[in-house]
């Protein structure tokens, strides 16, 4: 029995020795934390491609402060607890910048681990760039000085979406259908509150929460929506939960319009296909057909860089994050996270979507938000399709940055710069 312990630990020791000290010196290292194995690995890979794309561009121009940017991927297995362990690893390796964006559960866990770590070991401070985790609490009651969010949160998007919906006079009855977990519940809550405030005449005819990722057949839900007489549906569903919902709606001949968050999410448009054309809308900070030469160039450059991948340029947030990070470093002539963080506050950025700035009270990027409709690609205003499906998004409305700002409850301790 004891022999076993010894043998086991000897093997462990040997493997440790091999594993440590992999990262090379004299680069600015950005740890990329996502699920890179298991069911959501493809989503993690898309973000990684974007980060690589952004880093390549900086490196082609000679890097930042004469150093190249090095992207080091870590596998969180999309689990909050694993993410915390991975976080310890990157601290061990002396990495001071990290990026993550899929899954608010992981984001909250990381943000909390980061807070504890930075206060317990201030000499090893780490800065966290969040490119897509949209739980409002991250920039409200759970905010953290070293956490910067580049995507608009659930409430901001709902603000934009309901502003748009309020203008649509033909909407009279709205149905809410969401996944039964924190994100879906907050979409339902925000949707109901904001919509009834802006358009008291609109009737909420249904509010369904269904289990996350467990429903095979959405036909019964569609039958229920149909029975309610709704002409608009709001849904925060993502992945198969939105794809199957749209397919079932088409099968049953439901005419209502769907206002969603993630209709354009990776892997969803191919499943929806024809079924979504004209009645499927999404609210995002970017889509390929927002217009303007900058956006088109970006989409084309990405396609050129990754010709075999089916995904498209999507995460402007990663571009802005890397852009702000490098400019902050150039400005302060330092790679110290605290100095960089102070420089990033209130920084302005010119994104392909327009002007944006980092809000200093809660480190939330404020930027324009778009509502768009799933349509056939036509080479004109729907120039680019998504995932090579022949379908793309067409802009319905652009909500300006200033109209998306919401009050915040964030009160973080600001270090002295």
């Amino acid at each position: 029995m004891i022999g076993q312990y010894i043998r086991g630990s000897a093997i462990a020791a040997a493997l440790f020795a091999v594993g440590m000290g992999a990262a090379s010196a004299n680069t600015v290292k950005i740890a990329y934390l996502e699920g890179l194995s298991g069911p959501f690995a493809n989503v993690g890979e898309v973000g990684l491609r974007h980060l690589q794309f952004a880093a390549d561009r900086i490196n082609a121009k000679g890097g930042v402060l004469g150093q190249k940017i090095e992207v080091i991927p870590f596998d969180t297995k999309t689990s909050p607890q694993e993410a915390q362990l991975v976080f310890k690893q990157l601290v061990d390796q002396g990495i001071r910048y990290m990026m993550q964006g899929n899954g608010s559960a992981v984001a909250i866990a990381l943000s909390e681990a980061l807070g504890k770590h930075n206060s317990r070991e201030p000499e090893k401070t780490v800065l966290y760039m969040n490119y897509g985790a949209v739980d409002p609490s991250l920039t409200n009651d759970k905010c953290n000085f070293y956490h910067f969010r580049f995507d608009a949160d659930v409430d901001m998007k709902m603000q934009a979406l309901t502003t748009y919906m309020a203008q649509q006079k033909d909407i009279t009855k709205v149905y809410l259908i969401n996944q039964d977990y924190a994100f879906g519940q907050s979409v339902a809550k925000a949707g109901r509150a904001m919509l009834t405030k802006k358009r008291p005449d609109i009737q909420i005819v249904g509010d369904d929460l269904h289990p996350l990722g467990k429903i095979k057949d959405f036909a019964p839900y569609v039958a229920k929506i149909k029975a309610s007489g709704a002409d608009a549906v709001i849904s925060g569903n993502w992945g198969n939960d939105i794809a199957l919902l749209i397919k079932a709606a088409k099968d049953a001949g439901l005419k209502a319009k769907f206002y969603t968050y993630y209709a354009g999410g990776l892997g969803t448009p191919p499943v929806i296909g024809e079924a979504g054309v004209g009645n499927l809308k999404q609210v995002t900070v970017f889509h390929s057909n927002i217009g303007g030469s900058g956006a088109a160039a970006e989409v084309e450059a990405y396609r050129k860089r990754f010709p075999d991948s089916k995904d498209d340029f999507y995460w402007t947030t990663i571009m802005t994050a890397v852009d702000m990070l490098t400019r902050a470093m150039e400005q302060t002539k330092s790679t110290d996270p605290t100095k960089v963080a102070l420089a990033m506050e209130n920084m302005k950025a010119t994104q392909v979507t327009g002007e944006a700035y980092m809000r200093p009270e809660n480190h939330q990027l404020v930027q324009p938000i778009f509502v768009s409709t799933f349509s056939k690609a036509n080479g004109k205003d729907v120039k680019f399709d998504v995932e090579r499906t022949g379908f793309g998004f067409q802009t319905d409305a652009r909500i300006e940055a200033k109209d998306t700002v919401l009050p915040t409850t964030c009160k973080f301790q600001r270090p002295k710069g």
């Binding site: 039964d180 289990p211 467990k214 057949d217 198969n240 199957l244 191919p270």
Partner: protein, 315 residues
């Protein structure tokens, strides 16, 4: 009324699909004692094979080719996997299928990627068959039901009119008997396993495009099929059939009921507010709890009638 009729049809088509999956599992489970965790993986493989075949030569050949391919894989699994671990007992067999399910999912990730594939309903079947009041009913759903019923009839004849079918039937209720009859037990097992896999594969072919073909599809039906088998009872195909329809109906109909315990309290005149103790529990509606209902049914069934609905034996 409209909701009721549409939902009834939906529950029927879903229940029949469940039966196609659970019939194979019941046969394998009852005869070999192996609770096949990889059964839903065969369902998934059926869908992916059909996707691949239909890209090359079309949907109709896929309807035949994919189940046969899955059956071949099932036969190989039985011959080179299960038979090897058989001597270590049922736990080892079960764990073998558990590990296999794990690997099949990873391999599917590798070959077809993690995102759903574009496995589409054939154009000939992509129209609405009829309308119930204002709701259209898609033709493909009708087709699914036809295939399921056809399979049901074929299975019935295979079990009652062929020699091997009679042996299988006998061994469902008396698993020890087959051996004493002097039949080639390993071959019977292999046939049953391959046949069960083929049924699962066929379910995958017609379910994959009706719903979605992606690597998580195995996990999403896997446990529900177990529930059906346990609920219906060991060794009973009729039980599996009834259980499939019941579970299908429970899952589909529960969606329509937005009642929670709060409604009941209101009826009884008990005041509740968001601050009440256990408010989280009281406010859960039946439609929210729908997916848990099959498990609750199963647990209740096992408590009060361990044999299952129409089972002939326990354990």
């Amino acid at each position: 009324m409209e909701f009721f009729l549409v939902t009834l049809l939906n529950s029927l088509s879903y229940g029949l699909l469940l039966f196609m999956l659970s019939s194979g599992l019941t046969l394998i489970f009852s005869m070999m004692g192996v609770l096949n965790f990889a059964h839903a993986s065969f369902y998934m493989l059926g869908a992916y094979f059909a996707f691949q075949t239909s890209q090359a030569i079309g949907f109709w050949p896929a309807l035949v080719v994919a189940p046969i391919a899955v059956a071949a894989l099932g036969a190989i699994t039985e011959r080179y996997g299960l038979r090897t671990v058989h001597k270590y007992g049922h736990v080892a067999e079960l764990l073998f299928t558990f590990g296999l399910a794990y690997i099949i999912e990873e391999i599917v990730h590798l070959i077809w990627g993690r995102a759903p594939v574009e496995y589409k309903i054939p154009a000939v079947l992509d129209f609405s068959a009829f309308s119930i009041f204002s709701t259209q009913y898609p033709a493909y759903r009708v087709f699914m039901m036809l295939v399921s019923v056809g399979m049901l009839i074929a299975l019935y004849f295979a079990l009652t009119r062929t020699r091997i079918g009679l042996i299988i039937q006998a061994s469902l209720t008396h698993p020890d008997m087959v051996e004493s009859l002097g039949h080639n037990v390993p071959r019977v097992f292999m046939t049953v396993f391959a046949g069960g896999a083929a049924l699962a594969g066929l379910a995958g072919v017609i379910g994959g495009n009706a719903f979605v073909t992606e690597p998580g599809m195995a996990a999403s039906v896997g446990t529900i099929v177990f529930v059906v088998v346990v609920f219906g009872g060991m060794g009973s195909l009729a039980g599996a059939f009834v259980a499939s329809l019941v579970i299908g109906a429970v899952q589909t109909f529960s969606v329509g009921f937005d009642y929670s315990l709060l409604n009941l309290f209101a009826l009884l005149g008990i005041e509740t507010s968001a601050d009440s103790a256990w408010y989280d529990l009281w406010k859960v509606t039946i439609s929210q709890a729908g997916p848990v209902l099959p498990y609750i049914l199963m647990v209740l069934m096992l408590i009060f009638r361990p044999k299952g609905l129409m089972g002939t034996r326990e354990g």
